[in-house]
Amino acid sequence: MSPRHIWAMTRKEIHHILRDRMAFFLVIISPVLMLVLMSYALAVDIQHVPVVVLDHDRSALSRAFIQSITAGDDIDLIAHVSSMDEIEALLMRGTIKAGIVISPAFTNDLLSFRGIPIQIIIDGTEPSSGGFAAEHIGLRTEEFINASLASQFQTSDLNIDSIQPIDLRIRTWFNPSMKSEVSVIPGLVSMVMGFPALSVAMTLAREREHGTMEQLMATPISRLDLLIGKMIPYAIIGMINVFLLTLVAMALFSVPFNGSFLLFFALSIIFLFAILALGIVIGVFVHTQPAAVGLSFLVIFFPGFFLTGIFFPIVAMPEIARLEALFLPGTPYAVITRGVFLTGVGLDVLWPHAVMLVFLWLVFTVCAALFFKKKLG
């Protein structure tokens, strides 16, 4: 270990990052840009779903029902139609995402407690909008039944308290408005933090491309000093990124931060060293920068997106995917980011994930030290 050698590498790398505009953009700007872009793109809150109604009942009650389910911004009633064929045609053209059919017996059945005969036809080619519409209509229907039954009881001799109307209350914790950005952004933070690893893989490949790696190998610098010197600047930049991303998440997307900043930053440093070591392992195996980018996406970003449980629950994955997820530093880190942002839990809950991070850090560092040789060919 020579502090002078490490500092020489670090200083050179910082000069490179600050003076090469492309490198600067890649390591400092792109993680924040990625987070913002993806947050907007993945904000899957659906509003203004176009629907039509085929009302066979045409009663005051059915009109009230239609009004109640289409109130607000979630569902837009674009027309009343007069046949099933029209609904089918509109669905096929993609003009509407759902059609609501109200049976002629609507008023009768409702008032005689026989449930409400309505049919919802959904465009299954886009399940998220259709499913949202169905769910929304279901909820509103329950509300409507409760409300109309209540008023019915008031006008009848029966005592309202003797029959309990349906009482279904769903309460969502931690993200009360169920805004998807809020749940997704902390996970995205863990994913875009893969960028420092990409950068470190690229900088190793770059030294090879330019022949400077051969030159470095001919100097007395030790392998470890070389790798440490290269990792330090990207670890620092990674911490700046963590800070910027937290700021953007809180300021731009109103994501709450309920946990401890100190814990978050401490665990972020461990994550950074783990992912940087992985980046070095990648950099050892590639000889060109394009290959470094390609392999980083294959090893860090795609699995980071699909396997770390940000969007798709790990428990629902097949065995092999779960095994791969286990070895991604992003998996425990995604749990940690969500934990400190949303639930505000501390190390008492997050410790298994912190231990996993440390473990992966050691594994990848050992791999990097084993694979990186001061020899050519």
């Binding site: 022949g211 001919a218 007395p220």
Partner: protein, 311 residues
């Protein structure tokens, strides 16, 4: 047999790659203070040889000792004492001339109080003083090579290993670069340099001619030239194809090499053959602009050796 006066000492040195033997049983001894040139066609093993001497490649078999360090056992210990310049070496373009020098001074543990004067001397030496703060990427190709040399000299290595340092450099810069090497040689630095240029090989104190991973010839330039069989006649015919095919079968002509529009004829005895060739050309109606005897150059010697080996 170990010779105490040799600074580089290899025995049966062999390096294989997946499908080729890049270096095959090389026995090389370079003495202190030599300016040793490695020449040979592309792919002959020059780069592999230099990389092995710099401890950058694992040895397949045999031994290599540099400055008394056995590189097969430990390739790191020797590194503070050698200066190696890779063929591809292009420096760190975003760093200035000074920053590049500082970087390598740090890696080679050059003491801080020595560095300023050494840097000044090297910059002066390389003619780069006025470009101290210019980024390396903005230097000309020749200046980049000189900066690279300055970087490999920053720790005053005892041995310089240079892999085709002047390839792709203009003739003036090439000459300047070699003037620097000659100065270093005079100061006592041992230099091993590979080169594709025969005029550069001529400036070495000894030349190793490499071919297919071996070094069949290892002599001083003068002795290599002397070893060429026969003497040289330079002929400038009007029709060099016709003249070439006619003279190929002439008695006394050992070899014909083509240089542009002139033919270089290696003959057993120039004095005897000159009139004979003139007569023969006249008799076949082949005119020529000039014909004369000439001393053999390195290039002719090189081509001649390669042909002998290939034949």
């Amino acid at each position: 047999m170990d010779r105490p006066d040799s600074i580089i000492h290899t025995r049966e040195l062999r390096r294989e790659f997946k499908h080729t033997v890049a270096l095959d049983s090389l026995d090389l001894d370079v003495k202190y203070g030599e300016l040793f040139g490695l020449v040979g066609p592309d792919g002959a093993g020059k780069t592999t040889c230099l990389r092995l001497l710099a401890g950058l490649l694992n040895i397949t078999s045999g031994s290599v000792e540099v400055l008394g360090f056995d590189l097969g056992a430990d390739s790191e210990a020797v590194k503070p004492h050698i200066g190696y310049m890779a063929q591809l070496f292009s420096l760190y373009g975003e760093l200035s001339v000074r920053e590049n020098l500082v970087f390598f001074a740090d890696l080679f543990n050059v003491e801080a109080h020595i560095f300023p004067q050494r840097m000044a001397r090297l910059l002066e030496f390389a003619g780069l003083t006025e470009f101290t703060n210019r980024r390396a990427a903005h230097l000309s190709g020749g200046m980049q090579k000189k900066l690279a040399l300055a970087c490999t000299l920053i720790h005053q290595p005892q041995i310089l290993l240079l892999d085709e340092p002047t390839t792709g450099v203009d003739p003036v810069s090439r000459r300047e670069f070699w003037d620097i090497l000659t100065d270093l040689h005079m100061e006592g630095t041992t230099i091993v340099v590979s080169t594709p240029y025969m005029d550069e090989a001529d400036r070495c104190s000894r030349i190793g001619l490499m071919y297919a991973g071996r070094m069949p010839v290892c002599e001083s330039p003068q002795r290599i030239r002397d070893q060429i069989e026969g003497e040289l006649i330079e002929l400038q015919p009007e029709d060099w194809r016709g003249a070439g095919s006619l003279l190929e079968s002439q008695a006394g002509v050992l070899e014909i090499q083509t240089y542009g529009e002139s033919l270089h004829l290696l003959v057993d005895n120039a004095e005897l053959r000159l009139p004979q060739i003139q007569t023969s050309l006249h008799a076949n109606g082949l005119s020529f602009r000039s014909i004369r005897t000439a001393p053999a150059t390195m290039e002719q010697a090189f081509i001649s050796f390669i042909r002998q080996i290939e034949a």
